[in-house]
């Protein structure tokens, strides 16, 4: 059992796209204490990046607002919550469809929710029009007896 289990951080930042990298790197550094593999950390970073990008690009549509990121560790589970007080999603089921995008002219691939869904073990989306959106994700970090070198260190997580 990991002595660090049960831990939590909360980060609030303004909706600037420069903060996408900050958000995913912060989560990666925090999650490193569960000894995830490089692939697990990469999956989590990608999912966080997608969720935060959604809040900035779609939620606030490049207006300034606050994005709240909460990350909780419980046993071997990572819980991530990304929320905004932006315009909300009209039809969540449609938004989750692969390739669906409301902004095709800006070269959005419409793969954001599909990536979050497949890279994490659980995804739920709550949204109220005009009030905002909250995305909650969970991923279990598998405990393996594999060689040490498959484990990502804090230093590696920060680097890439």
């Amino acid at each position: 059992m990991n002595k660090f289990s049960d831990n939590e951080i909360k980060i609030e930042f303004i909706s600037k796209s420069n903060n996408e990298a900050f958000a995913r790197i912060s989560v990666a550094a925090f999650v490193a204490q569960l000894d995830p593999t490089i692939e697990e950390i990469s999956d989590i970073k990608t999912a966080v990046s997608e969720a935060v990008t959604n809040s900035i690009v779609h939620g606030y549509e490049d207006k300034l607002g606050i994005v709240t990121l909460i990350c909780k560790l419980h046993n071997n589970d990572v819980y991530i919550e990304v929320s905004d007080k932006g315009k909300g999603i009209e039809n969540i089921e449609m938004a989750k469809q692969p390739l669906y995008t409301t902004k095709p002219n800006l070269e959005r691939s419409g793969m954001g929710f599909t990536i979050m869904e497949s890279f994490m073990d659980e995804l739920s989306v709550e949204s109220i029009l005009g009030l905002g959106t909250k995305v909650t994700m969970r991923k279990t970090i598998k405990q393996t007896d594999e060689l040490e070198d498959t484990q990502v260190t804090l230093e590696e997580a920060l680097r890439g």
Partner: protein, 124 residues
Amino acid sequence: MKMEGRYYEEDKLLIFKINEEIDECSVKEIRRRADYEIERFMPREVIFDFDSVTFMDSAGIGMVIGRYKQLNIIGGRTEVANLTDGVRKIFAMSGVLKIIPEIDLEKRLEKFNQTDDKKEVVNL
């Protein structure tokens, strides 16, 4: 440099080597530079080299498909090379590799290494 470009006149081949994380933020500049060079050289072939891309999210899919569409109009093809694990996972799940194939860049450039004439290569 965040993105290095090289142009091989003989084959009308344009290569972009991306040296940064690709997300919605960084992709704007990558797209702007790529479009500028594509318009300037009108290449027959464009290869994106991901060797030093340590992170990419779905913004990379949109960027590559966007260039593919543009190249299609001028009759050029688009390819990707040196995909790192995370990048390949994103491309594979989106189905992009079916229309934009992954190629062996080293092999593709073999013929240029053998010639002494380096005048034909432009570093951008």
